[in-house]
């Protein structure tokens, strides 16, 4: 299906919205300020991964404005990261901070489930 559309594109580790210094600062006291450090694992540029990136940005803008970091990791470029973070399915969204670690898999099209998966359903919904 989408597999044959996977391209071995340029490596990209995208850090959005925050510059690096600010990022570090925010990570330091993430727990206190409920800063969300999110990592999205994809494998090549497929329709699903593109959709996941778009969906994730949208959800974050809506629910976590100003207090999130998104890293996108392409496993085709950094395959060694798959084992360490226990990635099986792609796309996988991992909430690295705040603890505990949370995972959401899929294209993140189902916003409700993403919010449940990120523990945003109870405290931060509109």
């Amino acid at each position: 299906m989408t597999d044959n559309k996977r391209q071995h594109s340029k490596p990209y580790l995208v850090i959005t919205h925050e510059d690096a210094a600010q990022n570090q600062q925010q990570e330091a006291d993430a727990a206190a300020s409920e800063h969300y450090n999110l990592r999205l694992y994809v494998a090549g540029q497929t329709a699903k991964s593109a959709a996941a990136i778009v969906n994730l940005r949208r959800i974050c803008e809506e629910h976590l404005a100003g207090r999130f970091t998104i890293e996108v990791v392409d496993l085709l470029v950094h395959p060694q990261l798959a084992a360490g973070d226990q990635i099986l399915a792609v796309p996988t969204l991992v909430r690295r901070l705040p603890p505990p670690l949370k995972r959401v898999i899929g294209s993140l099209a189902d916003t409700e489930r993403v919010l449940v998966g990120l523990d945003l359903r109870s405290g931060h919904h509109k």
Partner: protein, 569 residues
């Protein structure tokens, strides 16, 4: 070579499919080389039947013995646990990982941590596996067991598609893979993995029968290759897994014309060849206390004295007890034991199932490489006759292919005719010595005879033997109207025969004397008659002379008379 001889089909005749040896003793024999190289194999079975161990053995042997690096992807056990589990099999897992010859990746699946929001696939798994394979140049892969994925993901459709893709991908990568699967109800694996792995399927089984567990292995399917189709028992112990195939389907064992001593001088001469044939199987049957073990121990001693190794499987006595007991009849096995020529393997028969015993014995034989084996006694194996028979058949097969002379003792009843069970045994045995006791005149005495001995002339006599401080000793044969005479009766018969012989000697002497007397008398008579005859002849001669004289006188008278008459005229 023997084209005209029809034997069982040669399993190796099929066109060769490249194989990856597992290094599991016996398994590579029955699959004629191992698992299909570059293809996935499914190993399935119930809980605790050795799937993971099988897969790990395949992987670790591949690394250590065949220089093929390996990747283990475990979906169940954590890497540390796995390392600990196989460390007991003397594999240095940590060392292999450090040497970059092994990668263990533990895939942890926690359903509660995963939220599904939209479409996904399992590309992450492929990436992980691919990276692991590439990082060490792996040729072998174990997935143990990907069925755990079904617990982690709710979209079964995606899972099945991805699993199908995974097995195809493994094939494309050209790695030899073992995938394990838990046995499910009505099908081989719980989630039907067998649907995707079509090249080779192996079923492991763990069955309890009469409170004894036996592990069995069966190759259900092996595309493109012949394979043994039976269920084979296999063994898991401190040495890992070993499978016990019937080593040869045909009966084309090498035969030997050389004889080996039975250890009993008199018994050797009862066999035309001077003993048992090398590589033959010998059955010693008899009732309790008939000396079966002693005869077997004699053989063991004789083999050791020839410098041949002997492996003694005892199922009734421990080694110390046995050595003490046979020493009482002058057989000293302890020097051979300390010299390493003799080895005892003793176990309670009920400790394992038949197959397990067989597998253990097989392994011991492999390790010790003996020239002779004693199994004392085979009657200790309890179980359905068919199974006992099959076990022994395989045992004998193992021994024969290695040219090992084997002595089996068998406890049987006292009937003169072999029991039903023994009829079954007979076909397996080349030589059969029956020990029995003969009860007569208030005594029990031991006797033996050679019931059969294939390929050689043998004595048809029932020989009494006694157990002396110098060992088993065969006695001369005494037969009487009621059969062989033994014990006191034999002694009495001997005395009687001696007396009779003496009487016969005396009688003959008397007859000779009588004859002499008579001859002398007759000769005297002959002399007398001869004398009388001579006298008669003399008389006859005298009379004849007188008569002639008389005739001559008469003639003279007539002449005188006629002359006188003429003168008167």
């Amino acid at each position: 070579m023997d084209r005209n001889v029809t034997t069982a089909p040669d399993l190796g005749a099929a066109k060769p499919l490249p194989k990856a040896p597992t290094g599991i003793a016996g398994f590579d024999d029955l699959t004629l080389g191992g698992l299909p190289r570059g293809r996935p194999t499914l190993v399935c079975g119930g809980a605790g039947c050795g799937k993971t161990l099988f897969a790990m053995t395949f992987l670790l042997n591949g690394i250590q013995r065949f220089d093929e690096a390996g990747v283990l992807m475990s979906f169940e056990e954590a890497a540390e646990d796995l390392a600990a589990n196989v460390a007991s099999l003397s594999y240095d897992v940590a060392g292999l990982i450090a040497e970059k010859r092994l990668v263990i990746d533990h895939v942890r699946i926690e359903r509660s941590e995963i939220e599904e929001a939209g479409e996904y696939d399992l590309e992450g798994l492929f990436v992980r596996l691919g990276h692991a394979i590439d990082s060490i140049g792996a040729r072998r892969v174990v997935l143990d067991t990907p069925e755990a994925l079904f617990a982690g993901f709710s979209d079964e459709g995606v899972l099945r598609a991805e699993l199908r893709r995974l097995f195809g991908w493994l094939k494309d990568r050209g790695v030899t893979a073992v995938i394990t699967g838990e046995r499910g109800a009505g099908q081989l694996t719980r989630h039907g993995l067998e649907e995707y792995v079509s090249d080779c399927v192996i079923l492991l089984d763990n069955r309890v029968h009469d409170q004894v567990t036996t592990r069995r292995l069966r190759v259900i399917k092996y595309r493109g290759s012949a394979h043994g189709t039976n269920e084979y028992p296999f063994l898991i112990d401190e040495g890992g897994i070993s499978v016990l195939p019937i080593t040869s389907a045909g009966l084309n064992h090498k035969t030997y014309n050389e004889a080996v001593s039975t250890g009993v001088t008199g018994l050797d001469t009862m066999f035309g060849a001077g003993g048992y044939y090398r590589g033959s199987s010998v059955l010693i049957s008899g009732g309790s206390g008939n000396g079966k073990t002693i005869l077997a121990a004699h053989f063991a001693e004789a083999m050791c004295q020839r410098g041949s190794r002997c492996l003694y499987f005892g199922f009734e006595e421990g080694p110390d007890q046995l050595i003490r007991n046979v020493r009482s009849v002058g057989i000293d096995l302890s020097p051979h034991l300390s010299a390493g020529l003799l080895r005892f393997e003793t176990a309670r028969p009920s400790f394992y199932g038949l197959e397990m015993h067989l597998a253990r014995m097989h392994r011991d034989i492999e390790q010790f490489a003996p020239g002779a084996v004693v199994v004392d006694p085979i009657s200790a194996f309890r179980g359905p006759e068919v199974e006992v028979h099959a076990t022994l058949l395989r045992m004998i097969d193992i021994l024969k292919t290695r040219g090992i002379t084997a002595v089996f003792t068998n406890l049987c009843g006292e009937e003169h005719q072999p029991s039903h069970g023994e009829h079954g045994l007979s076909s397996l045995m080349d030589t059969w010595i029956s020990l029995r006791t003969i009860e007569a005149d208030g005594e029990r005495n031991r006797a033996l005879y050679v019931l059969k001995s294939r390929g050689m002339a043998h004595s048809n006599q029932i020989r009494e033997f006694v157990l002396t401080a110098e060992g088993m000793c065969l006695r001369e044969i005494y037969t009487g109207p009621g059969g062989v005479l033994t014990g006191s009766a034999r002694v009495a018969q001997a005395t009687r025969e001696q007396a009779e012989a003496a009487a016969r000697v005396r009688d003959a002497a008397r007859r000779r004397r009588q004859f002499e007397t008579q001859k002398n008398a007759l000769e005297r008579q002959i002399a007398d008659l001869q004398a009388a005859l001579e006298k008669e002849a003399e008389e006859l001669a005298a009379f004849s002379a007188e008569a002639e004289e008389h005739e001559a006188g008469l003639a003279r008278d007539q002449v005188t008379m006629s002359a006188s008459r003429r003168s008167a005229e």
